[in-house]
């Protein structure tokens, strides 16, 4: 358990309308790329939010980097990218450079200040993601794909060891979505960043993710894609056709 980047034990969460997650236990190892899939209302986003301390856990436990969530302080090790459309106020007056700079705050002590080195880091990440020419644009002036790359830059500018993405491509067209997934896969391969990605796009994620977690309040499957695609249990659960659809791009 101590070597796991993410670990949950019998984790349950409830909202007013009832239980959303039931006794979820799993571990994510360093360097894994885990795709979390499942139908609407299956608790995918709640699981992510519970792991980040954004929703209250009703029972069970969760830990990051071997530390229980309640005592976890190393937030600079975590990068988070939520669904951008829900996040950004279109009239917010921040430039792309200012927005990406927010990602460095987790590394700073009080009083938090950004210095010249930080500005260099921002420039490098903007270059890497191909958005340097947008640095002075306001975030409200960006297209969906550009905004997603800016928020990704914000999430990885502090060199996190774990990158958590919650349906980051929901508002993107298929072509931009494909490029985005490839970018995440590249970050996972070249930087060794552990990735936890919530998506509806189970087929596309098969191309890149090393593991798949199928959630419907409980974990129905957690393992490699090969295991998923060869699993007779999954065939009987989803039907062979659906299983084939999920697996054909893997």
């Amino acid at each position: 358990m101590s070597g796991a980047i993410v670990s949950t034990e019998q984790l349950s969460c409830s909202y007013r309308e009832g239980r959303v997650l039931e006794e979820v236990s799993f571990q994510v190892e360093r360097g894994d790329y885990v795709g979390i899939v499942g139908p609407n209302g299956s608790g995918k986003s709640t699981l992510i939010k519970a792991l980040l301390g954004l929703v209250t856990i009703s029972s069970g436990s969760a830990s990051l980097f071997g530390t229980s969530l309640t005592g976890f302080r190393d937030w600079h090790k975590v990068g988070y990218l939520p669904q951008s459309l829900h996040l950004v106020n279109p009239v917010f007056p921040a430039t792309v450079r200012e927005t990406v700079g927010l990602g460095l705050l987790s590394l700073k002590r009080f009083p938090k200040r950004l210095n010249r080195d930080d500005n260099d880091k921002i420039s490098i990440i903007l270059e890497e993601l191909g958005i340097y020419d947008l640095e002075h644009k306001l975030i409200g002036e960006l297209s969906g794909g550009q905004l997603q790359r800016v928020l990704l830059a914000r999430a990885i500018v502090n060199d996190p060891e774990l990158l958590v993405l919650d349906e980051p491509t929901a508002a993107l067209d298929p072509e931009t979505r494909g490029r985005f997934y490839a970018m995440i896969a590249d970050i996972n391969r070249t930087r060794g960043v552990t990735v936890l990605l919530v998506t509806h796009d189970s087929g596309a994620i098969g191309e890149h993710a090393s593991k798949m977690l199928y959630l419907d309040k409980k974990i129905l499957f957690y393992g490699s894609f090969d295991e998923f695609c060869c699993s007779p249990e999954m065939s009987s659960l989803f039907g062979e056709h659906s299983q084939h659809l999920m697996c054909h791009r893997h």
Binding site: L54, Y80, P82, N89, F92, P93, L105, F110, P111, H136
Partner: protein, 277 residues
């Protein structure tokens, strides 16, 4: 009376100095409040200030001494709004409405029990910056210094929570602590602003400069600078117009502020036609 003559009077110098300091505070805080959709907190706290001023006057605390009563009550009310929002399953505007209703009704009852609206209470309702005393200017300057220091120290945290509470939290920022700082600083500024524009118009000092700056700003720091510029200019121009035209200072300040806002909207349409839809 020409401008130089006007500026030579001590009471006008005091009004301009205190007014500029208070406008600076309110306009900078206003940017954070507007972006966090807490714009109307100024109104709510102003109504609590009315109630607490009625208590102060009933207890025979006049002028500067009234701050000893109003300040703690308004600070507590600001935290109450925050707690109602966080724990009471209420949206920000509903929590503000509840606290606001409590403040204004308590004020009306106390004023009625105390023999009706006296001159002091009316001056708090509509503001009377030209009657500001030297000790009130000193208090305004000290509080302004304190609030600006806190804003400087917590600038990045305030920027982060204004952008997104969720992202700020995952960056290790204690969002409820920073939210508390924001509403407490707002409460202090509202109590100060009461003398400048009165309880009825306080929220305009918080909202209008921020709304104007948002039309033109290309960057968060630029937005804060533009809001401060609009807020301070409105106070200076508004006070001078009020003296030259024998109009109420509070309403003149707010009208100038609104004219700046309208001008900012027109300029935006001319400079950035693509952002105007």
């Amino acid at each position: 009376m020409n401008l130089l003559e006007i500026l030579s009077y001590g009471f006008i110098q005091r009004a301009l100095l205190a007014g500029t300091l208070i406008a600076l505070l309110c306009s900078v805080l206003g940017v954070f409040l507007v972006l966090r959709r807490l714009s109307l907190i100024g109104d709510g706290l102003a109504h609590v200030t009315f109630g607490s001023t009625a208590i102060a006057l009933a207890l025979k605390f006049y002028s500067v001494m009234s701050l000893l009563v109003t300040m703690p009550i308004v600070l507590l009310a600001s935290l109450g709004i925050l707690k109602l929002t966080e724990k009471g399953r209420l949206s920000g505007d509903t929590a503000i409405g509840l606290v606001s209703a409590l403040g204004i009704s308590a004020g009306i009852i106390l004023a009625s029990v105390g023999g009706g609206y006296n001159v002091d209470l009316l001056s708090f309702l509509f503001g009377n910056i030209l009657s500001i005393r030297s000790e009130e200017v000193v208090i305004a300057a000290l509080l302004c210094l304190g609030v600006m220091l806190m804003l400087t120290l917590y600038y990045h945290e305030l920027f982060a929570i204004s952008f997104s509470d969720e992202l700020a939290q995952v960056s290790g920022i204690r969002t409820s602590f920073i939210n508390s700082i924001l509403v407490l600083l707002t409460a202090l500024s509202v109590v100060l602003a009461m003398k400048l524009v009165g309880i009825m118009l306080i929220s305009s000092l918080l909202i209008v400069p921020a709304a104007g700056a948002l039309q033109l700003a290309r960057g968060f720091k630029v937005c804060i600078f533009l809001a401060a510029l609009q807020g301070c200019s409105s106070v200076l121009i508004g006070i001078i117009i009020s003296i030259m035209s024998n109009l109420p200072a509070s309403a003149s300040i707010v009208m100038v502020n609104l004219l700046f806002f309208a001008a900012a909207c027109v300029i935006r349409r001319l400079i950035y036609p693509s952002r105007s839809n």
